[in-house]
Symmetry: C2
């Protein structure tokens, strides 16, 4: 079981709430640039998401070149606060390569979306 | 707003659930030994908690020498899973000194309680 908080009324919030499942990407410490491409609204163009290659994994978008990911099924949503909390069961998880995680405090950013 | 997960039926779980508030200690990367003293049941002896000095802050136990702490008020409890999730409002927070955080993945442990 894991939890993630998503900004209320954002596109991600609406999609995850409606769909009830999502893939959580775990980025490596060399993928700050990739992360920053999702600071703007996500656009599907030239078969890419904000310029990033992806595939469909169980009909969910999975970015290429992520060191690891977790596929999740939403169990409950706590609507408190400005970033409601999604409690989710882990359905599947995969490690593609060993990598140090991208940590918010090391990016110089104070907010990760 | 923050969330913490506490093992069901543990002493901490029962106390936090009953009391509805708690202090979350943020440990420095040199305090692995302090953390490990709380792997066993907490005992109050010689005016210490498991051998650690503490004071009462708003009537809640606050360990001495922690680099930072957050005082929280429980808003909601999700009983799903083996470690129920406590959603809590931040009532107060204090930084005593700048320090790198004690990270589970760097301790060699796979579980932090």
């Amino acid at each position: 079981m894991i939890s993630v908080c998503i900004k209320r009324n954002s596109a991600s919030y609406e999609i995850v709430k409606k769909r009830g499942e999502f893939i959580l990407h775990l980025l490596g410490d060399n993928q700050k640039e990739l992360a920053s491409t999702f600071f703007k609204p996500t656009i599907f163009e030239n078969e890419k998401l904000n310029g990033q290659e992806f595939s469909l994994e169980n009909n969910l978008p999975l970015l290429k070149d992520v060191p690891a990911y977790i596929q999740c099924k939403v169990v409950e949503i706590l609507e408190n606060g400005d970033h409601p909390l999604f409690l989710a069961e882990v359905v599947d998880a995969k490690i593609n390569n060993d990598s140090n995680p991208l940590e918010l405090r090391k990016t110089g950013w104070t907010y990760g979306g």
